[in-house]
């Protein structure tokens, strides 16, 4: 079989990107290599850890489980798109103030997941936060500071 070079045109954080890649290139690798946006991380490459989570057309997805060719024409949001004009979003500020990260590897996936969650559930209970973040693995924090950050963000976003 030949290696096809497929053209993929996609909007990431409002900016248009055009790249050429084989069909087997994952969305995660396209974002990182073709778009040069390395805020999205690869932790497990089989959908378990959540470090690769981005929004595709407004919904969170595991970018390691999508192919770049599948998002031709779509609109993507990565962690790089959360701050506006250099100002952190309320969720990001809450993580800063509550020490919600240490090495930061899981953080981009957690921010995307938490943002979608808070948009749907603006006043969550702690249990709901824990349940919703249970698909994102963190090796550093023990999760408590992450949960505190999300609950604090909910307060700030009221």
């Amino acid at each position: 079989m030949t290696t096809q070079a497929n053209r993929v045109e996609v909007k990431v954080n409002g900016h248009s990107y055009v790249g050429f890649c084989e069909p087997r290139r994952t969305l995660a690798d396209f974002i990182r290599k073709n778009c040069g946006l390395t805020g999205t991380h690869l932790g497990c490459e089989h959908g378990v850890c959540g470090a690769c989570t981005v929004l595709v057309d407004g919904r969170s997805v595991r970018s390691c489980l999508m192919l770049a060719v599948q998002v031709d024409g779509a609109s993507i949001t990565t962690v790089e798109g959360m701050a506006t004009d250099g100002k952190l979003s309320p969720l990001q500020e809450a993580f800063w103030d509550n020490h919600g990260l240490q090495c930061g590897f899981c953080t981009s996936g957690i921010l995307i997941t938490a943002q979608e969650f808070l948009d749907e559930t603006p006043t969550p209970t702690e249990e709901q936060v824990r349940e919703r973040l249970s698909g994102n693995l963190c090796r550093c924090t023990g999760y408590q500071s992450i949960v505190d950050s999300v609950l604090d963000a909910a307060d700030r976003m009221k």
């Binding site: 079989m1 069909p23 087997r24 994952t26 089989h46 959908g47 919904r59 969170s60 060719v69 698909g135």
Partner: protein, 292 residues
């Protein structure tokens, strides 16, 4: 941890899907939500020659309630079905089961048809399909056929789907008025595959006499199974705590549990008893006749 090379075809109708599959043959894999297939590709456990991407096939992303059935198109996203008010009202067991499937992000892409066609022994949707007696509708070329869920799941990751055949719809019977249902699962972590799962749908009359009963278990054996022998024991009798416990023991005695790194046969047998008891009790409590 990167997929091997493959040819990629994107289709937007059922007909195009069937044409693509019949022209490529057995070396093609259908790509739906990708939440099971992509990990296999990333691990290189699957090496299909061609991927047929059916995500744009809108005609399969449907859900409707008619003639006592909830008909779900195979491309219905799990998250969309979970949040669909009509679907939750028609088949509450389905909405409850979907809450256990992975995580929201997985369910945003994962499809109902994909989970059923993938047939993981520990998956929740196959358990619901088998317990409620769903019908699986599939197409190959110009032919369409319907297979009951009990005959659809043949073995671990193996279904009755033939080469070039595509699952298009699933029909779940509507939950009858007054019936209560429940699903209980044990997993290492929230969102993980079930080590054991149990589902029940119970109808009770005012005297706690069992008017209708369905019980099924998943994760214990190679395929999910409806426990008709347990149902026979319960049907027509009075549902006391003692009777529920005995039914759970019968379930545990009747299963032939698999052994793997998640548990021994003995462990799965014990958990089958516990979860069957809890599922039956919870289902009964939700039925009209079970409100104490």
């Amino acid at each position: 941890m990167k997929p091997p090379p493959f040819d990629y075809v994107r289709v937007s109708t059922v007909q195009e899907t069937l044409d693509a599959l019949s022209s490529v043959g057995s070396e093609a894999k259908v790509l739906a939500g990708g939440q099971s297939l992509m990990p296999l590709l990333n691990f290189r456990l699957a090496r299909p020659q061609t991927l047929v991407d059916i995500n744009p096939v809108k005609e399969l992303a449907s859900v409707s309630v008619e003639n006592g059935h909830l008909q779900v198109g195979a491309m219905m996203r799990q998250r969309d079905l979970e949040l669909h008010p009509q679907a939750a009202e028609a088949v509450p067991l389905l909405a409850e089961a979907l809450g256990y499937v992975g995580h929201v992000t997985i369910r945003n892409r994962g499809t109902v048809g994909g989970s059923l066609a993938h047939a993981d022994p520990a998956a929740e949707l196959p358990l619901v399909a088998v317990t409620l007696g769903a019908e699986m509708v599939m197409r190959r070329g110009a032919d369409s056929r319907t297979v009951p869920a009990s005959e659809f799941f043949i073995g671990p990751l193996a279904t009755a789907l033939g080469e070039d055949e595509v699952l298009t719809h699933v029909r779940f019977p509507r939950q009858p008025a007054g019936v209560g249902s429940a699903l209980r699962e044990l997993a290492r972590r929230s969102g993980d595959f079930a080590i054991v799962s149990a589902a029940a749908a119970i109808g009770l009359d005012g005297d706690r006499s069992v008017t209708s009963v369905r019980v099924g278990v998943g994760g214990v054996e190679a395929v999910p199974r409806r426990l008709e022998e347990v149902e026979s024991t319960l049907k027509g009798g009075s549902l006391t705590d003692q009777v529920v416990e005995e039914a759970a023991e019968q379930a545990a005695a009747n299963v032939e549990p698999i052994e793997d790194i998640h548990g021994t046969a003995d462990y799965r047998r014990t958990i089958t008893r516990v979860l069957t008891r809890r599922a039956i009790a919870a289902a009964a409590a939700r039925s009209n006749g079970g409100q104490r």
